[in-house]
Amino acid sequence: MSAIRLDNLDISYGDTTVVHGVSLDISEGESFALVGESGSGKSTILRAIAGLAPDWTGEISVLGKARSHGIDRDVARQVQMVFQDPYGSLHPRKTIDAALSEPLVINGIGNRDERVAAMLEAVGLDRRFRFRFPHQLSGGQRQRVAIARALMLEPKVLLLDEPTSALDVSVQAEILNLLKRLRREQGLTYLLVTHNLPVVSFLCDRLAVMRHGRVVEVADVGLLKRGELREPYSQELLAATEGRPAVSAPWAQ
């Protein structure tokens, strides 16, 4: 079964349409990446799936069921999001314990104490962090909390919006290892937005390259690793990552 299916999806902010006719099929257990430069609409797709960008037409289905435009509690149980900036995405005046318990309270799930303790352990945070506030934690520790919060409802799908781009290289490695382990242990599906191609290579099975709100290419990660992406724009991204001069730079014509 497909975990997320997008069919001819257009997404608008007010009068501006930012995503045009995107169709994607992500199977259960797959790790899929959306790559492209800023403004290409990749984060907007995540926001639409999560229900944060309600102005869309087309179809979004999650685990076989069509998603409504409003707040959809069934979707929230199945799909959770991790944001880019762990400094901005945690409530500064709530302890880690409160942040992790809140989704359980909202969804009326009991046994909270044990669930929080188990989740902290799963994301590799010592229990002494449980009653601290976000400002007492480092960036990497905060991102672990954000991942833990997303996993509290035992979702099937994680939407990851640049989960490591605000972190140092050595901390990025820890978070990437954590994401890889959690996916293996819990059979999660990932939809990852990033502009970092090596991260895709490490964490994902397939990728879609986006530009100006459209998908220009969908490819297996094997093609990325061998540098065999078909589209010229994909090759440009690859060249920029490796520091080769992009052939089609605007002034090179």
Binding site: G139, V169, L176, E242, G243
Partner: protein
């Protein structure tokens, strides 16, 4: 490659500290280096002191921060003894700095042209017509297509990559001898990063300036610099030629290199830094 001809900037035993309620904390712990007309990269993770080093050179660290150095000389001028007023003729005119984020570093209520003009006329009295010509020539040098139109725009009307090029234009128009670029591209897209760095590289090379490129990105620094200093918690742990980075000796540098995923990644798990290994250094 820029040939190094003599030393532009010489720093010996530079220390930067800030007071906390548990006493003074040193964030830069006695580092020494020389820069000639070459490209020097300073790499390190957050909190390594790399940005503080850049700011200390320009004496941009305000009280209660404290900067001491046995020697901090730029072209024969003892920077440690310069008054605030004297520093103003050094900053911008002879040493200038490109900051990280054009969104916060450009003045939102001045047009791009006015801001670049300000950078120029602060240091040099010039007739209006010549100022305009220099601005347009400079915008052209940073590869902005329609300099006349862009000079009349406000910062919110230009993209991030263009904003950063405007900032580079502003920093280079007084023709400084040393440019400090502190994470000049980390707020930009990968595809634009290379363009901006190529522009910096081209201008620095052409004018025979010195460049200090401060970044957390080892690959980027090794690509655009001649020589690299690796910093960790306020000290320089490794110094090497950019081409020799792969043969780095220090466990911290080796750890950083290994922790980065690569495009043809085959490892199942990335090695994580064991921070106890070099605790003694």
């Amino acid at each position: 490659m820029v040939e190094s001809t003599g030393t532009l900037l010489s720093v010996k035993n530079l220390r930067v500290s800030f007071p906390t309620h548990r006493g003074r904390v040193e964030v830069v712990k006695g580092i020494s280096f020389d820069v000639g007309r070459e490209r020097l990269g300073i790499v390190g993770e957050s909190g390594s002191g790399k940005s503080m080093t850049g700011r200390a050179i320009l004496k941009l660290i305000r009280k209660p921060g404290l900067v001491t150095a046995d020697r901090m000389a730029f072209d024969g001028i003892d920077l440690t003894r310069q008054s605030e007023k004297q520093m103003r003729s050094v900053r911008g005119a002879r040493i200038s700095m490109v900051m990280q984020d054009p969104k916060y570093s450009l003045n939102p209520v001045m047009t791009v042209g006015e801001q670049i003009a300000e950078a120029l006329v602060t240091h040099e009295k010039l007739p209006r017509r010549e100022v305009n010509e220099r601005i347009l020539a400079m915008l052209d040098a940073v590869r902005i297509d329609d300099p006349k139109r862009v000079a009349g725009l406000y910062p919110h009307e230009v993209s991030g990559g263009m904003g950063q090029r405007v900032m580079i234009a502003m920093m280079l128009i007084p023709e400084p001898e040393l440019l400090i670029a502190d994470e000049p591209t980390s707020a930009l897209d990968v595809s634009v990063q290379a363009q901006v760095l190529d522009i910096i590289d081209d201008l620095v090379t052409r004018k025979g300036m010195g460049l200090i490129l401060i970044s957390h990105d080892l690959n980027l620094v090794s690509r655009y610099c001649d020589r690299i200093l690796v910093m960790n918690s306020g000290v320089v742990v490794e110094e090497c030629a950019a081409g020799e980075l792969e043969n780095a000796q220090h466990p911290y540098t080796r750890g950083l290199l290994a922790a980065m995923p690569v495009i043809d990644e085959a490892r199942d798990e990335l090695p994580v830094l064991d921070r106890t290994q070099w605790a003694g250094t």
